[in-house]
Symmetry: C2
Subunit: 671 residues, 2 copies
Amino acid sequence: MATAHPVARGPRPKRSSSNRAVDFLLGRHIATNEAEQRKIGPLEGVPAMGLDGLGSSAYGPEAALTILMPLGAASLSLVEPIVALLVALLAVLYVSYRQTVAAYPSNGGAYVVARENLGETASLLAAAAIMIDYILNVAVGISAGVAALISAVPSLHAWTLPLCLGVLVLITLINLRGTQESGRVLALPTYGFVACFLVIIGIGVVEAIRHGGVPTPVIAPPPLAGGTEAVSLWLLLRAFASGCTAMTGVEAVSNGVNAFRAPVVRNARATLSAICAILGLLLIGIAYLGKAYKVGAMDQSQPDYQSVLSQLCGAVVGHGWFYYVAMATLLCVLALSANTSFVGFPRLCRLVAEHGYLPKPFAVAGRRLVYSVGILYLAVTAGLLLIAFGGITDRLIPLFAIGAFATFTLSQAGMVAHWLREARGGSEGRNRVRLGVNALGTATTAVALAIIVVAKFAEGAWITVLAVPLVIFGLKGIHGYYVRLAERLRPAGPLDLSATDAPVVLVATRGWDRLSEKALRFAVRLSPDVVATHLLDLDGEDDRDALKALQAQWRHEVEEPARLAGGPVPRLMVLQASYRRIHAPLLKLIERIQAEQPDRIVAVLVPVIAKPHWWQALLHTRHASRLSQSLLRYGGDKVVVINVPLHVGADLPEDGLIDQERPAVRRQAAE
Amino acid sequence: MATAHPVARGPRPKRSSSNRAVDFLLGRHIATNEAEQRKIGPLEGVPAMGLDGLGSSAYGPEAALTILMPLGAASLSLVEPIVALLVALLAVLYVSYRQTVAAYPSNGGAYVVARENLGETASLLAAAAIMIDYILNVAVGISAGVAALISAVPSLHAWTLPLCLGVLVLITLINLRGTQESGRVLALPTYGFVACFLVIIGIGVVEAIRHGGVPTPVIAPPPLAGGTEAVSLWLLLRAFASGCTAMTGVEAVSNGVNAFRAPVVRNARATLSAICAILGLLLIGIAYLGKAYKVGAMDQSQPDYQSVLSQLCGAVVGHGWFYYVAMATLLCVLALSANTSFVGFPRLCRLVAEHGYLPKPFAVAGRRLVYSVGILYLAVTAGLLLIAFGGITDRLIPLFAIGAFATFTLSQAGMVAHWLREARGGSEGRNRVRLGVNALGTATTAVALAIIVVAKFAEGAWITVLAVPLVIFGLKGIHGYYVRLAERLRPAGPLDLSATDAPVVLVATRGWDRLSEKALRFAVRLSPDVVATHLLDLDGEDDRDALKALQAQWRHEVEEPARLAGGPVPRLMVLQASYRRIHAPLLKLIERIQAEQPDRIVAVLVPVIAKPHWWQALLHTRHASRLSQSLLRYGGDKVVVINVPLHVGADLPEDGLIDQERPAVRRQAAE
């Protein structure tokens, strides 16, 4: 029977004038069935999800070289083996995530993999680690970009934090408009960066080969000092661990699989392949040219500091226009690598919220089909981090890589469990190889994670180590709330239709006018037991004569007609509002009624003047809505609040309920 | 009969934890009957209402001297006659306002006097002028104080605007706590300033007399240059008009009469007398010593600039500790003269709002019995002015004095009309003198106003001249809205008890749970015509199998029991929410129902989960309250919204409705 009801199509909501400005800023509302059109392919996927991974190539090798600085010129011979290890690790991660994307095509982040294979706590650990990492990535990306800009234009130095926050606001707005637009906006700097640095590496490699491995730099990098330390295993491990920051962001694709259009797995894999291939090329190229041109890391606190990439560019192509174009794209990519988080974080939060570990609003798609609450939460948290750390990259970095490597480890461990389970299921052969790859990956990333935690603990890693369990605790608390809520909401079975007493009806009045009359007419329909309440001294001391006049009016206009009609008589009760708060006297009265008649429902009628225009909110007190809210909150289970609106004519918009869609929107909605 | 109902005393409202922080910042709630205790006497009145008037003594004489600068040393002989004129004008204003305070003891500002004697438009002109002046006074006072501070500590120069805004926030908080406290906080700097400068003037006068009118300065003021211009009437008038800025703030007492405790008139007059006497003494002293010590104005844009008061202090007592104490109190008084506006502006707005020319919220007394909306509006507007003009006093000054003199003129013109009416009423004699005084005052202030407008028009006075009619237009527009509203609310007469059809009841459900069950039980009581609505795809695409399950459940759990009981059967209707907006499909449905049955009331039941704790708002979507709001706004006159709350047990605070008053408050409430 019920299925026979037609499914009514919702109209587009009425637009008020204030909404038009929001439309302009954020774009029009998008229908749920337009979701497929909003999805992305590999061409938009690389900028949208790869900026973080590609941007890491700028600081990963440099971080390793910085650790090797005490070795002096001897460091050069160690760069290639370390980068070879990094590229091998990248390959392991690539193969692993390729498998993950195929195994979990709806959304294959570490959270999902851990949840499916390792249980609740591991999944929450992954969720906490990756959420913290996403937030830190925004702060680090933006501050690194702004710091690079400020190195180029030192006069902007005093504006560091405002610049960081400005970039943050810009990225937030872009993302509130939706992924596709943001993919387009980001395409130019991303592909520009890739093109510039592949050209530089290409020229450099050709030069190096032409000169038998010892090319002549256009602008020679500063000579490397003699070593002050000998090579040690600890130093190599630390250099490797620092270099691992180049890996951050590789997992972004696996978290955002369902942002891709069909064929989902193929598009996601193509994006992942492109990102990993470019990152690998960049790392190998930087390592090879770094050794050929004898480029070492420099101390960032010194005024003559130049980054490794800046030295390399100068050595290969000199300081012409191409150098500045390349550095500009690098700045953009660093600043915008924050964008990867804005794609991944809201999707992860949505998933976690759907499982009941984050508040439900994280799972509500906003006007542009993006999860606005997650985007705003990310923006605010990253903004607070930027403010707390003054927008200084160096202070944020030690907190950063832990989340990424905890994520890698959990993701790969989850995949190991996945293959083990599959193996128990029967399918052997290829899975043993995959198991081996993932086991190696787990071991490598776990070692790297341990080294990072130990080496950077005092520098700030302790903050992350402390934050992760706190976040897990919070997630579990939220889950507990929803579990208890669901238990309490569980249906008691079939509808109970046993008769109940008519409710006691209270009508909140402010005098005898059309508002009160309309409410009272509805009230006498509901119950023979109607009491109108009048609050005295609500806005300062009231005139006692006016009260007497109201009471006389009540006798003539209400009680007499009711008595003549032979029906029950609505009484007028005067309550004292000593603190000018409307809800306290009413709650007290309800308490008194319920003490006498505990089983009866108390229905409170709150008459309201309908305010269809936003500016009307400025011209009326908020008494009615505050009263309704307070009664619902504190009135207990037997109180029902009834809002009776009165439209006062000219203030009702003339178009009434007629749809005011703009033609373009109407067309799309009709599709 | 109705008078026999007991007047129930309201309990103090429940305190939530979030409110405690607000309590700490703003102070506890104050009962209406505590109002008398909050009122002030002359001792608190002088700081609370006199800071503006007294602070003007710092810039009034200097402004006149600045106009006279082109005369060089010849200017010295003109200071005394001009200040004599100013003091005469002050005396006229004093006598006039003394009479006004007695004639209008409830609140005797220019707005009230003009309203009583000159009609609506004149009263709105006065209201607009005085409101603009109050706002400008805040901006000018704060920026002048901060500018003086910055002259003393030049390293703070870059922080001008943040300092201005910080002072603004501080003053706002002090005033949100209430007048008495702010009177106390301001007493020290005010009386300190008065004491310091009376001591300096005293020493200076004694020295001058001892040396036959030619005292030896401790630190000689810079010598005055030769004149470049001859004396002209235009120059003298302009100097007089500029000097008139010393008069601003004198009207504050008349606007705030009802802030005084009984005997109101005597306290207000005593305060007015004290302020005018001190201001007069300061003006005469400054003029006498200025001539004796040969102090002239200096160009503020020059780096060696010193204010007239600073030169005077140096000449009389040198640059010892006393100089710095005196200058510090001067800084405080200038910055805090803004406070006068915070006392006067909200009270004026309350009055205007009670007459229906400003939004009603301006007339609602906040937790501390002050008119919080007015205070916040003043703070925000002054803050925007400070930001727009960069916190620079010089740019604000030309906008400033116009409002004050328009106010004086209207107030005195109103008093003239008052005495004329009284004269017609019979009482002659003394009133003719009063009439003469006020007529002279009207003429003088009108001339000064005309000169200020002409002389400063291009410098910024045009902004004020433009703003006043705009404000009047706005006030009249608001009044029109309230008049129309009152007409529409006027009672249609006695209660109409004719029978009406039972409403069509729509129940917004999200599945079959206890929430829906409770709402449905209430719904079937209201009407035989109950339709439950289920919104599809509200949070993204829903599972169609889940919908089928819900429909089956509905048949078993709702329709079958209803059919067995022989009653009407509540139906389940599925609505498509393509844009994830909850209200649009329901409004469409209501429109359809009303097209068929235009006279029936449509009651929409919106079940809500009661959220007694603030943090619960973070864990739930705002669907229910948004739906209720939209239905009330756009649903038309026949829609009633019923909120049925479900308390989910553990989340209901254990203390329930029990009063949680702190002992001190309980005691006071019992009085």
